[in-house]
């Protein structure tokens, strides 16, 4: 939070622009998707996009910066356990992801309404996703040798998958080949489950998304822990 303009304000502005441009321009034409006003329909996807991207970048860029500055040494010679180090990084990433997601939701809700269908489930999903992508960011930060490598995943993997994961549309609206493509996108199930939590409507059912994210969360945390314990790319 030393640089709130970069960590919170910047993603807030970007996501709000998505909301204003897509929600209001397309919303005036599409009006409703699956019985939900379009401007309201896209809010869970935008919240997810903000949370995922920022949780990922928080760990990956923090580790990359520490490696470049040489301050990673301070952490590596400390008596902190591997679990404590991983928990700190991923916890901070999850908090930033939740913070950005919440702020995006607040801005959108000012236009579309503040009611949330299943608030606890929505919070649970968002937290699980933020932890998952925080852990994936950790792995990427340790692996990467350059900032270009760090930026590869959010630019070429996360953002396209999120955009093609039903943020701005329902899979049922698409022709068959595109619908199959969307249904094979893991991010679709995350957005879909969060949409159930926030709007009460889901295409695939909330358990599919929750189950998938729980599995991915376990895998990413486990991988991050093993990498940290092995010292790969951190200790000589």
């Amino acid at each position: 939070m030393r640089v709130p303009g970069q960590t919170v304000l910047s993603p807030l502005v970007t996501t709000s622009l998505y909301f204003l441009v897509f929600g209001w321009s397309l919303g005036s034409r599409l009006r409703e998707v699956e019985g939900v006003p379009y401007a309201r329909f896209i809010v869970p996807g935008l919240v997810m996009l903000g949370a995922v991207t920022n949780a990922f970048l928080n760990t990956s860029s923090s580790i990359m910066v520490m490696k470049l500055q040489g301050t990673m040494v301070d952490l590596l010679v400390s008596p902190l356990s591997y679990g404590e180090i991983l928990g700190s990084f991923v916890g901070a990433a999850a908090i930033r992801g939740l913070l950005v997601g919440s702020v995006v939701w607040l801005v959108a809700a000012a236009f579309t309404g503040f009611e949330v269908a299943h608030p606890l489930f929505a919070l649970f999903m968002l937290s699980l996703v933020a932890v998952t992508f925080g852990a994936l960011g950790f792995v990427t930060g340790v692996w990467a040798r350059t900032f270009e490598q760090v930026n590869f995943f959010p630019t070429f993997v996360i953002t396209p998958l999120t955009f093609l994961g039903g943020v701005f549309y329902s899979a049922a609206m698409l022709p068959s080949p595109l619908r199959t493509l969307t249904l094979s996108n893991p991010l679709y199930y995350m957005v879909d489950a969060l949409r159930w939590g926030m709007l009460g409507w889901s295409g695939a059912g909330p358990l599919a998304g929750a189950g998938f994210v729980a599995l991915l969360c376990g895998l990413s945390l486990g991988t991050a822990y093993l990498i940290l314990r092995s010292g790969w790319r951190l200790r000589g």
Binding site: G70, S78, P79
Partner: protein, 330 residues
């Protein structure tokens, strides 16, 4: 021998009381580190006695930083065991890292924080709450009081290096590794850092120092290890090392040049310098200059001045490297 200082930080809260501490604070047993086919350390055995200033000397690439990094936990050894206070640095890493402070060779700093914040964050890594008096002491000893609230990016190179030393001291380590601590630090400040290192030693902190300034090692060290190509060539008390290896040079300045040495002087290994205006004789450790002085007097050479100079650690170091001295722990 009982260690007078109890464990600090979270260790203190786990019911640990006084520990029986071996004389050797750091022990390396048959430690090797290989990068592919390159051996950065090759079967190193080393013991660093408690409460001493221990200088690790060697040319660039000798393995000094690798050795220190293995003890501090930055590098994993390929073979052998490394102990700090009798505990293994891998299996008991939390214990050993609490006992070790590291001042790395490369300057690092986080430009988002001030000097005080940097020290507090570092203390947090060790589970230590930095008391105000301890903070004052570190800032004062390292002459950083006026920079307490300054952003680290505004510090000069010397100040950043001093901040590194401060970071390594926040958890009051029992053994402090200083990897080239005074590189880029001005002469006046070097003196004050040396004084602080001695203060730390007086308090019971063991200090392991690598330096390219051999006068620094000569000034500070109680014991010296020479390392080259990943192998320890010698470990010796500095005083005994200088006695054993350091010969003396007698230099006699003449008021008139001589063309050639009188045969008795030549037989003693003397040589002419400065175009015949000086005679120099090198004596091995323990030898007397009496025969050389007698030969000069007998030859009637016009003596203007007489000077003797003992070989310094630097000369010994170069001589040892050239000879590839045998491993000789003392």
């Amino acid at each position: 021998m009982l260690e007078p200082r109890p464990p600090r930080g979270r260790e203190a809260g786990k019911g640990a009381t006084l520990h029986r501490v071996p004389e050797s604070v750091v022990t390396l047993r048959d430690v090797s580190k290989r990068y592919g086919t390159f051996a950065a350390l090759d079967h190193v055995d080393l013991e660093v006695p408690r409460g001493e200033i221990f200088a690790l000397l060697g040319p660039n690439g000798a393995g000094k930083t690798t050795l220190i990094s293995i003890v501090a936990g930055l590098v994993r050894a390929s073979a052998g065991s490394t102990l700090v206070l009798g505990r293994d640095v891998v299996s008991s890493y939390q214990f050993t890292r609490r006992a070790v402070g590291l001042v790395p060779q490369e300057i690092n700093f986080d430009p988002f924080f001030t000097v005080e914040e940097t020290l507090r964050i570092q203390a947090g890594y060790f589970g230590v709450r930095l008391r105000p008096e301890r903070l004052e002491e570190i800032l004062s000893a390292l002459d950083l009081e006026s920079k307490r609230h300054a952003n680290t990016r505004s510090l000069s190179g010397g100040m950043k290096r001093r901040l590194l030393i401060g970071k390594a001291l926040v958890h009051e380590p029992r053994v402090l590794f200083l990897d080239e601590p005074t590189a880029g630090v001005d002469v006046q400040l070097r003196q004050s850092l040396w004084a602080y290192v001695r203060t730390l030693r007086a308090r019971g902190t063991t200090i392991v120092l690598t330096t390219h300034y051999l006068d620094e090692a000569e000034e500070l060290a109680d014991r010296v290890a020479v390392i080259a190509e990943g192998r320890i060539l010698l470990v010796e008390e500095k005083r005994r090392l200088l006695e054993r290896y350091a010969g003396k040079t007698l230099r006699v300045a003449l008021s008139a040049a001589v063309g050639e040495l009188p045969p008795p002087l030549a037989a003693l290994g003397a040589r002419l310098e400065d175009g015949g205006l000086a005679v120099a004789v090198v004596a091995p450790p323990g030898a007397s200059f009496g025969p050389a002085l007698a030969a000069i007097a007998a030859a009637g050479l016009p003596v203007r001045d007489v000077e003797t100079r003992r070989m310094r650690l630097e000369d010994v170091f170069v001589s040892l490297l050239n000879r590839g001295a045998p491993r000789n722990s003392a």
